[in-house]
């Protein structure tokens, strides 16, 4: 059993192809692992019947040699993705027991390619959070622990369930979404690989919206190669999402192992924060050395508007969220708390249905869009966004292929440890990742080492628009050099 769950997707594909095992066996092994790991709270809905039915169907196809690129691979799905006839809640009380009559484009492409759905994964409510503590289903537990400590750690967020499940061998890969770092930060906290594709690379259709101009779906997997395999199925143009881009989806896997010799890698000086832990500094230097050893050229670059990115992000994202979440009003679906008037119904429903963080962001967003404040906040933030984008463009125009940064300012922290008194403390987690969303660029987080307490740390590579391939090539260099990290099973 353990053998079946500890394989990579690439290994499992080979095993399925040469009939070493069936998808049903693979699926059952994962279902058992999920059951045994309920204490992690990664899966908020297990769909064993559906998983087995899908596995049987794909086994029949595999026998006939008809399986697709993901034939028989069991995956977990972040609860932000609408799954037809399967409860989808974005981990918010306000969606209650909402069961969509439609399937998101990204997940339907995974099923098209033969993947098997194990269930729905926990996340921060409406993807708003950096620790997976805002979920109405309760926090997700990181399978990693500090050496010699039983302290429960967060897996990061908002795709905490995805990262935790992949790290704990509950699924071979998972879908995730990234609005300000929600794929890369949890990947870094759990020693998994997380890819945030270029804005427009994956369709947003059927994904519960947080901030439309920043949201992007991507995979979390255990290796760079696995993430590349998943990306190929997730990406693609969708006429139902006008912000998705009509570009051929390359064979991302083919980029693995490609030489990075002669590539210019930018090291942005503005990412060297005051008071940055020495371990992070060391990791970064080490990562740069690995790339150099592989033949890349390292150059210091400047992204001068970096310091404005986080504040601007926390204006743009809540602004869009305040409008995107207006549809959860108790009228047509999900939770309804009655009132004596329509206004009361709205107030009662939204007060009870939304958690604190969501309410906070809806209020911030409403405020920054209000008459008299729009120019000072929203418009200015959009200008900052343009400048941040230009910083990157200038950098790439000088021949830089990718930019190397730490993925997070620290390793995973304890449940309840951060943000209790000051939400900004939590927001600071996104300091290295938000710029990428603001500029619409692709980014990858790759495990690169451990801190003194034995917790994983990740490095981030930022690429040119639609050049995910270079990120996979570089990411694999880091992976090869750093090795892979698996948590000790304690659950």
């Amino acid at each position: 059993m353990t053998d079946l769950t500890s394989m990579t997707i690439a290994e499992a594909k080979a095993g399925l192809a040469n009939k070493s095992f069936t998808s049903l066996e693979l699926t059952d092994a994962h279902l058992a692992a999920i059951e045994a790991a309920r204490s992690l709270n990664a899966f908020i809905l297990e769909t064993p019947d559906q998983a087995r039915a899908m596995a049987r169907a794909i086994d029949a196809k595999i026998i006939k040699g008809e399986g697709g690129p993901l034939a028989g691979i069991p995956l977990g799905i972040k609860d932000l993705f609408a799954t037809k006839d399967v409860r989808t809640t974005a981990c918010s009380k306000i969606l209650g027991n909402f069961v969509p009559p439609y399937e998101s484009t990204v997940t339907s492409q995974l099923w098209r390619d033969g993947a098997v759905m194990l269930g729905k994964l926990n996340n921060d409510e409406f993807a708003m959070g950096s620790s997976n503590e805002t979920s109405c289903f309760g926090p997700v537990v990181n399978p990693w622990r500090r050496e010699g400590s039983n302290t429960t750690l967060v897996p990061g967020g908002s795709s905490g369930g995805s990262a935790s499940a992949v790290a704990a061998l509950l699924c071979m890969g998972a879908t995730a979404t990234d609005t300000g770092g929600s794929i890369r930060q949890p990947a870094a906290f759990t020693a998994t690989v997380g890819v945030k594709p270029t804005y427009g690379r994956c369709s947003r259709w059927g994904i519960v919206a947080f901030a439309s101009s920043l949201d992007q779906a991507g995979p979390i997997a255990r290796t760079v190669r696995d993430s590349a395999i998943l990306m190929r199925s997730m990406a693609g143009h969708d006429p139902k999402d006008t912000t998705s881009v009509d570009r051929t989806v390359p064979d991302y896997e083919a980029a693995i192992g490609k030489s990075v010799k002669g590539m210019k890698i930018g090291i942005p000086k503005e990412y060297r924060l005051d008071g940055m832990p020495a371990e992070i500094e060391k990791l970064w230097t080490e990562g740069a050395a690995w790339l150099k050893a592989a033949g890349a050229e390292l150059v210091e670059v400047s992204l001068p508007h970096t310091k404005y990115a986080l504040p601007a992000y926390y204006i743009v994202a809540p602004a869009e969220a305040s409008s995107n979440l207006a549809r959860y009003d108790g009228v047509r679906y999900g939770l309804r708390v009655p009132g004596r008037s329509i206004g009361e119904l709205y107030q009662n429903t939204r007060a009870e249905g939304f958690g604190d963080e969501v309410r906070r962001r809806v209020m911030i967003g409403t405020y920054v869009l209000s008459a008299g404040y729009y120019d000072a906040y929203y418009l200015r933030a959009q200008k900052v966004r343009t400048l941040i984008k230009k910083d990157f463009e200038d950098c790439f125009a000088k021949g830089v292929s990718a930019i190397l940064t730490p993925a997070t300012p620290s390793a995973a922290f304890g449940v309840g440890e951060k943000g209790g008194a000051d939400p900004v403390e939590m927001y600071l987690n996104d300091i290295f990742t938000v710029t990428v969303n603001m500029a619409g660029l692709p980014g990858i987080a790759v495990p690169a080492g451990k801190d003194a307490q034995g917790l994983p740390l990740g490095l981030q590579l930022i690429g040119r628009p639609f050049d995910e391939e270079t990120l996979f090539s570089l990411g694999e260099v880091v992976e090869q050099a750093a090795g892979r990290f698996t948590p000790q099973r304690w659950w």
Partner: protein, 494 residues
């Protein structure tokens, strides 16, 4: 302020004359099979909630996709209004909570509309015209409809209309009285119907107007305006303006001030009443819709739509006057409604000699056909006499086969019984007699039988008319009137 604004009718108050300043926002439903951002049908009158897509119901994760047909219709309308077409425009979200708006916002265009400034020339009484400036035209979603009469404790919502494309056409405050306002809506509606971009059906709500009214002393600074919402009748628009202007004048003359507010017109009482004040106005928190890219197209796209524009009422009117010699009044009557113009042009197409009989055909369409239709309360699309039949009747007159008088009888037969006019004339012996010998015999007989009248006519030639009447009577109206006249003149020596 536009210098070419046509002064309107002033209103007399206790302190002298007052000028009314009016601007209008017209919401015109775009003619298209599906909604602005979804594939749901726009058909009118379906079962409640039978034309609702997942996008219209704002299900989680749904995204809008622009309907290109609606873009074409908006650009075509802009071209028909001689307006600036913006090659780049932006969709914004107008945020507000109400059950008729499932998204919690309306997708509209705020800062960058698809169409900019244009103008419309409107016809006023007495052959006068006025030019009304267009400020902008933008595309936006219609809302759903609340049903309050289905349950004693609940309100229901029908989302069939929700997401249907509307064009909001905003005029400049160039309108100066109720007559101009009515003429403006009439003309705009006519242009939209010619273009085929809106059916203009005000009863079904395809065309609604918000009317902004303020008053001032002529030439003085603008007064505070009130907006009268959701008017769906041209007559009511006129009444509402008259009432609202007088209401405002009375308040000002009594030493009061006008509160900027939104008002509703009650057609039963003929008055406007307050709906909400400026303080209660929503803060819509407009911002660019991040689900939609800016709407961009090329000048080539616009040029192609321009090349496909149909002839518009003003152009058609000018052509009727110039090439067919119609009076401006007649031409105006014919082009006012697209269907009337189409009917008239079909008659023209059926004529044997358009140059000779085009004007005659216009008279017949306007006087006989429209007259009769009006009398029976029918409209042109339900006319029992077809354009082809009317063309045949006009042909018969023009070629001299029947007289105008006989033609009226023939028209009556065709109206009630139908049939081919030419065959009817043949079968029922209605042909005009042009055989001079036959007419001469009748003339001779009447002259011989009435020596006293002959004497009178010789003394007073106007009395020859009596002889014409007698001849026509005896010939059953079929004698050629010109031939009768000529013969009488010779025989009577006058």
């Amino acid at each position: 302020m536009n210098v070419s604004v046509k002064p309107g009718k002033l209103i007399k108050g206790q302190t002298g004359d007052w000028e009314v300043v009016i601007g209008m926002e017209i919401h015109a439903q775009v003619t298209s099979n599906s909604k602005l951002f979804s594939g749901a049908s726009t058909e009118f009158g379906g079962e409640p909630n039978s034309h609702v897509s997942l996008v219209d119901a704002a299900m989680p994760g749904m995204l809008p996709v622009i309907n290109e047909e609606c873009v074409r219709q908006a650009v075509t309308t802009g071209l028909g209004l001689n307006a600036q077409i913006n090659l780049r425009s932006v969709f914004d979200r107008k945020n507000y909570f109400y059950p008729d708006s499932p998204q919690g916002y309306q997708i509209s265009q705020y800062k960058s509309p698809i169409v900019g400034e244009g103008e419309v020339e409107v016809e006023l009484d007495g052959g006068k015209t006025a030019t009304i400036g267009i400020e902008r035209l933008h595309l936006e979603q219609d809302a759903g409809k609340l049903l309050h009469d289905q349950s004693p404790t609940m309100s229901y919502v029908d989302l069939n209309r929700c997401g249907v494309a509307l064009m909001e056409i905003v005029s400049k405050p160039d309108i100066r009285d109720a007559e101009q306002a009515k003429a403006y809506v009439t003309k705009l509606r006519s242009i939209l119907r010619y273009l085929g971009t809106c059916d203009g059906d005000m009863e079904k709500g395809s065309l609604r107007a918000d009317v902004n009214v303020s008053v001032r002393k002529p030439g003085g600074p603008l007064g505070t305006r009130c907006e009268i919402k959701n008017m769906n009748s041209i007559t009511f628009i006129g009444q509402a303006i008259e009432y609202e202007a007088r209401r405002q004048i009375e308040i000002i003359e009594d030493g009061g001030t006008i509160d900027q507010e939104t008002r509703l017109f009650d057609p039963n009482k003929g008055e406007t009443r307050s709906m909400r004040s400026k303080e209660e106005a929503h803060d819509y928190r407009y911002f660019p819709d991040p689900d939609l890219l800016p709407l961009e197209f090329t000048q080539g796209y616009v040029d192609e739509l321009r090349s496909k524009l149909p002839e518009l009422p003003d152009q058609k009117k000018a052509r009727f006057i110039e090439s067919l010699g119609l009076s401006p009044y007649d031409a105006g009557v014919l082009v006012a409604e697209r269907e009337s113009a189409v009917f008239y042009e079909t008659v023209l197409a059926g004529l044997a000699d358009k140059a000779r009989d085009g004007k005659l055909a216009a008279n017949w369409v306007i006087n006989e056909l429209f007259g009769r239709l009006n009398k029976e309360g029918r409209d042109i699309t339900g006319s029992p006499v077809s354009a082809a039949q009317l063309a045949a009747i006009v042909d018969l007159i023009g070629e001299g086969t029947i007289s105008g008088k006989i033609a009226k009888d023939l028209f009556e037969i065709v109206w009630t019984e139908g049939g081919d006019p030419r065959e009817l004339v043949e079968a029922r012996g209605m042909k005009q007699v042009t055989d001079l010998g036959a007419i001469e015999k009748v003339v001779d007989d009447i002259i011989a039988a009435n020596p006293d009248k002959v004497a009178q006519a010789k003394a007073k030639p106007q009395l020859a008319g009596w002889f014409v009447g007698q001849v026509m009577k005896q010939s059953g109206g079929k004698a050629n009137p010109q031939a009768v006249n000529d013969l009488l003149k010779t025989k009577l020596g006058i």
